[in-house]
Homo-oligomer: 404 residues x 2
């Protein structure tokens, strides 16, 4: 007997029939003698519809109120799944984030889990219940409801797997697993049977929408294996874990891409200590996430500072940066909203020459100009023109022989 | 400065525009320097839609799960009302039943409020917030969500008015107040400017759908004045209170009716102690509410026992009663599902002869046969054929000169 945590996304519980299908899948795991905890997202478009309703009433809805509103979506789906399990003869109980002991800080709309008090879940499991937990939500010490941000149900699932000591956390979704590239762009992309946490993290952060990166981080930190697979069939999916065998390391695992990139360059800024801090602290205060940051070597103590943000945040970010750039004596502040990002990801690239050259060569062959380059231990990323992203992903997939 | 509790029903918060309208009404009360607590029901048909969804998944949904599911309806409307108030410049905060400290027993689907812990509400009021509370719901000591049964938001409002020491509890709904009879049946029916708790209780219990009777009971017990008025205009409504002036007592206040009556008669049952108990205890265990009970005087130690239930519960009740009747040696068990109920209500009727005679006379003149009669201190009720209820209400309204 093992304890298994499963998570089903919104498209997997989109209507009554799909919920019944999930119930049958959960029941099969229970039948094998396992204890099962299931985390669910809100049904289909529920969250978007609630957001729409909120904006009809208030153009800038309060985040605390919005979180409490959105939390109802997951409560609806988890009570319905409990009913569906009972309908086929299984004992089940639904728990809200609060009841499940998901304790968070009070950062509404993107709260962080501080701890899980698993007493109630454990008690219900011991009674023989299948426990269904509302994903995406938690509660503060003041008993206020919070949400964990988009994709937060993945984080709920991994956090529960950690605190309950689950054997595995299974993330069921509408894709078949993690692929060498987005199959919509690259038809010959292949499913990876397994991948390391860090590689998955880079893939998730650098554009692969399969899983929420916070959930992968949490899995890595506590070494919980995470299976990503389809909720609509029994295909094997991709296992994300720490013990990926030696022989599959040291090569490119996959190509990630992201079409949502805008770039801001502060041109001609004096190169003295504190400049970067004053810009990025202000952006953080304005709640703007900055992605890639590049500062070129300075010439005559004057440098250019470039960074990228999501396109939706560009105008807000320019509003923050312009007055600071001015007060710092920078020459000007320019932006470009029509960019995208391609990355090659794989462990050990840093210690193996040739990857970067092969990447730049493949892009150059296609006539794709590289605007910015950043690298990590296991990733090389190029910012390029948005319209060229599709070609770039295909070219890189071929260049690194990922079609298998 | 006073503390005022207001409650808005589902039709008053049916869409974004209506919620904005409620926000303007609430703001007006706040502008007068009052502290305001607002209880809201779920938007429009939300509750019915959630119930439908549940039954699509499970023909007999678990009551705990159903309560948790339904509780989301009121959370949605209370967060939206808080956003609507913020949109027009007022500080507001929404609280779920749990957050508002509504503690109940664990009788799912019809929980009773055991106490209110008003600390959080008081703290928010002291901060200057308008406090919006999700009606209809509470929480057990185990942190499980309960609902208070149909119309339970009225009970939430009065319970909060009691525990916060509010000056008045205002129930805003889609009717103009309490009328001498249902204006849809009797066009000349008049709004009552005031009415006593007991009279209102009889009206509510005996078919006037204006207010949940448990809420009136609670108001009476703690002597909280309750105003019932329309949420769509500023008409004065009806004040339910204890200090109704002497001169308006001792007369018929209104006519109540109910079309949802089914009758079961256990015929020829031996008249010995314990018979009624064995029948009604079994019905109570099966969770069937029995309304009127009549037992005729026995002849040769054989009697007939008649009682009424809601039509929807008739077949379940017959299933419970038939085997018991058989084991008690009763001759047979018969039922009639096509009945209705008319009542005249007013304090002091018991001490004033002539009311009953006038009632029976008015029905007889219209050729309406009376199946059963029951009375209380302030009410006389006749069970009659369902098809005759409309005529009966009109005849009684005229006979007691309620048109003014």
């Amino acid at each position: 007997m093992a304890l298994i945590v499963q998570k089903y996304g919104g498209s997997s519980v989109g209507d009554a029939e799909k919920i019944k299908n999930v119930a049958r899948r959960v029941a099969r795991i229970k039948d094998k003698g396992n204890q099962v905890v299931v985390v669910v997202s809100a049904m289909g478009d529920t969250t978007d519809e609630l957001i729409k309703l909120a904006y009809q009433i208030n153009e800038r809805p309060d985040e605390r109120e919005l979180d409490m509103l959105l939390s109802t979506g997951e409560i609806i789906s988890c009570t319905l799944l409990a009913m569906a399990l009972e309908a086929v003869g299984y004992e089940a109980i639904s728990l809200s984030g609060a009841q499940a002991g998901i304790r968070t800080d009070a950062t509404y709309s993107r709260a962080r889990i501080q701890r899980v008090d698993p007493e109630r879940i454990t008690r219900e499991l011991e009674k023989g219940n299948i426990v269904i937990v509302a994903g995406f939500q938690g509660i503060t010490d003041e008993m206020d409801v919070t949400t964990l941000g988009r994709g937060g149900s993945d984080t709920t699932a991994v956090a529960l797997a950690v605190s309950l000591g689950a054997e595995v956390c299974q993330i069921y979704t509408d894709v078949e697993g993690v692929f060498t590239a987005d199959p919509r762009l690259v038809p010959e992309a292949k499913r990876l049977p397994e991948i390391g946490y860090e590689e998955m993290l880079e893939l998730a952060t650098y554009g692969a929408k399969v899983m929420h990166s916070r959930a992968v981080e949490l899995g890595e930190l506590f070494n919980v294996p995470i299976l990503v697979a389809s909720s609509f069939n029994d295909n094997p999916g991709t296992l994300i874990h720490g013990g990926v065998s030696m022989e599959v390391r040291n090569k490119v695992k996959g190509i990630a891409h992201d079409l949502d990139v805008a770039k801001i360059t502060v041109v001609g800024v004096p190169d003295r200590p504190g400049i970067a801090a004053s810009i990025f602290e202000s952006l953080a205060k304005a709640n703007i996430s900055v992605d890639t940051i590049v500062q070129n070597a300075s010439i005559n103590n004057i440098t250019d500072l470039t960074f990228t943000v999501a396109k939706s945040q560009l105008s807000k970010a320019m509003g923050v940066v312009k007055p600071i750039a001015h007060s710092l004596g920078a020459r000007e502040c320019v932006s470009d909203a029509k960019l995208g990002k391609v990355s090659i990801i794989g462990t050990g690239m840093q210690n193996t020459p040739g990857y970067a050259a092969r990447m730049f060569g493949a892009l150059s062959e296609k006539g794709i100009n590289i605007e910015l380059i950043t690298t990590s231990e296991i990733r090389i990323t190029c910012i390029i023109e948005e319209a060229k992203v599709k070609d770039a992903v295909r070219a890189l997939h071929r260049a690194f022989e990922l079609e298998g």
